[in-house]
Symmetry: C2
Subunit: 420 residues, 2 copies
């Protein structure tokens, strides 16, 4: 009988692990809450109407359709039983409340989410950008804010509607702020009659003293200049202390608290591992770190459990410091598939091919093969990499088409506000 492999999570890591096992002699089951793989690095483009939601989402079954030994199960993984080798799945689509899946080998790839630093009530006012739901909610809010500004007679209130706040100046926050600025200055400026969308303020709040802190100070400075040239106001060393209905409160270093009137806050800060990391750690008698991650062996197995692999944003690898980005999860997914296929446990080594963050049309920063790049060249590289790694040929064609229109005509076609 073929060995049963259960893969939990259909993100970059889980999907590549499942793909890597598909041709072999394994009975693979991939479990995910969603029926699609989300190309998360482009979720922010959905939030600004540049791409449609389905263009960054590939149905998992379609991606895995040629792997006849691979099953996809829609459901939420809520527990593990490492002793009896079972995964607990809840909320199955047929109405079943709970089912246990037995495995010989387990691959846990639950990913991460944004955390609100203990202020979960902020989530309501400041949706996050890790999920498609979050991206669509942000799109609704951004577009509705412009609509509100258009019909609002009071200038102060109109200014609040035209104030957009992005919390967190990592790659996602930087890209998001740049997109909102482009939207207000270029795309929408000839579509409104009363509101002057060019006067919109886009504030990028960051608790640390620079943007893109994982990059070099030189690249951070370049990114900051490019943001400013687009119309974004980066506010550094400016932690958020409160978010409520119609406002964000900040406490800039060495200065008094300040209240910003706004109706649109995007959250892109404080990454936290999936709760699955904690569940695994508990079962294995381990601790999680402050970000909720569990530490795995260099070969990506759970300590004491050579039959359990864990990878991606929900783990740290012993002896290595890795960034929480898609290429790491992808390489880990492939590594795990290879380990399972060959039966050998070898240490994982990350090949750092580089990292890129775009800021807007013809603007980006990054490091490719160790060389820092900025501006137009970085932007072209960013384009190429994202098109290459998008899943599905159809989505590549559609996304390229949308980007061509956006580039040539300053259009953003995917601008639907869902009904309240």
């Amino acid at each position: 009988m073929s060995k049963r492999v259960v893969v939990v999570g259909g993100g970059f890591g889980g999907l590549l692990a499942a793909r890597g096992l598909g041709g072999g002699h394994f009975d693979v089951t991939l479990v995910d809450r969603d029926n699609y793989f989300l190309f998360q690095p482009l979720a922010y483009q959905v939030a600004t109407g540049a791409l449609s939601s389905v263009e960054v989402a590939a149905p998992l079954r379609q991606v895995l359709r040629r792997h006849k030994q691979t099953h996809v199960v829609l459901g939420e993984v809520t527990g593990f039983d490492l002793a009896s080798r079972k995964v607990v799945v809840e909320h199955l689509p047929n109405g079943e409340e709970r089912r246990e899946l037995e495995y010989d080998l387990l691959v846990a790839a639950g990913g991460s989410r944004y955390s609100y630093f203990g202020h979960d009530d902020w989530a309501h006012h400041a949706p996050e950008l890790k999920s498609l739901d979050g991206a669509l909610l942000i799109r609704d809010r951004i577009l509705s804010a412009f609509e509100a500004a258009e019909v609002e007679p009071d200038p102060a209130k109109r200014e609040a509607f035209l104030t957009f706040v992005v919390v967190g100046a990592g790659p996602t926050g930087v890209e998001m702020a740049g997109q909102i600025a482009e939207l207000s200055r270029e795309v929408l400026s000839n579509e409104y009659r009363t509101a002057d969308t060019k006067t919109a303020r886009v504030l990028l709040l960051e608790a640390l003293p620079r943007v893109l802190t994982t990059y070099s100070t030189r690249l951070s400075a370049s990114a900051e200049r490019q943001l400013v040239s687009l119309g974004v106001t980066p506010r550094l060393s400016t932690p958020v202390v409160d978010i409520g209905d119609g406002f964000v409160e900040v406490e800039p270093q060495g200065r008094a608290r300040e209240r910003i009137a706004t109706h649109t806050v995007v959250w892109a800060a404080g990454v936290q591992a999936s709760p699955l990391a904690g569940l695994l750690a508990q079962q294995a008698g381990l601790e999680v770190d402050r970000a909720g991650r569990v530490e795995v062996e260099p070969d990506l197995t759970l300590p004491g459990h050579p039959e359990v692999f864990a990878l991606g944003d929900m783990v740290t690898v012993r002896g290595q410091t890795l960034p929480g980005i898609a290429p790491v999860a992808m390489q880990q997914g492939r590594h795990v598939a290879r380990s399972i296929r060959t039966g050998e446990r070898t240490p994982f080594h990350y090949r750092n091919k580089g990292e890129l963050a775009t800021i807007g049309r013809r603007r980006a920063v990054g490091v490719v093969a160790g060389v820092p790049v900025t501006g137009f060249v970085a932007w072209l590289l960013w384009l190429g990499v994202h098109i290459t790694y998008l899943v599905g040929f159809q989505n590549r064609v559609l996304v390229l088409t949308r980007w061509a229109f956006a580039y040539l005509l300053h259009g953003r076609g995917a601008r639907v506000i869902r009904r309240r």
Copy 2:
């Protein structure tokens, strides 16, 4: 001062009226609940994952961006005051509860919706296909039913999950049933491991004795044959008498009541005019017909109110019998714009260029320039017409791309199930 024209409704009729007035000396305000024009004839393709929601939705502001005298206001029209020439708008995006818009000329184009024959509780079990929200809800349900069948061990329950019911065999119902059959037989058949999607039943329920009753009996018969060849089971003379959780009850003519076990019911029957028709009628001291429509003069003005035009699915035109289809509303929209521009009131004449309904790949029926067409030729004509009338060049390119993929690779890329 320019004359103020308020256009209520941004569908085919309202949008073409607003467009036709844009270049003139009018101060035009278009009011709609949604910020987009929905290309309703293709909404069913969103419901089956063939197209993405934004590909059939064009932002109203984008369509009207060059018309500097045209304002778009997002909000719900809830009343008219014909005596003082005001339109009442509620739920504005800035939080304003109510606002009155004054007009010199009014164009009312509220369209229609499906009615549940007085059984509004059925709506919960059988979403309709007139809105984008409805289409996305149907997509969620259809795709979830296949997911449920895949994990359901009980064969009887699995059969219920693989039973799809479409109510109403007008063009939308026929197209929808054909798409579900294609989805289950061609697109999904190699993606599921446990459920055999090819065994899915697609029932098309119709109270009348034939499909597409507005077409000739010969075309109806052709459409029925094409549906059967695709795998659809048309059940004619079979009115629905009850819909509940997990079932549809029908009472076929001359036979006993029958209960069909299903979790996916699509509603495409019983068109009812927008409530705006009733509000207008009330103000003008008129009655509405059984479908809730108000009768307008041959020049499309409201009797006794030469300053009020009404058009599209919410009206009947005195002395004319017109089908409730997009070309009628479009021609009426253009006619009204011309009447307003010239100041002349001339009777509206519908130029019937034809009508087409598609059933699936290379399958369609219709009448073009008076000539009945079926099969591949009809399908090619259908394609051409729909691409031509889609709003926005970008959407045309994207839709053509999706259709090419669907045709060549049997793919349906837009298959996201939203989170419950």
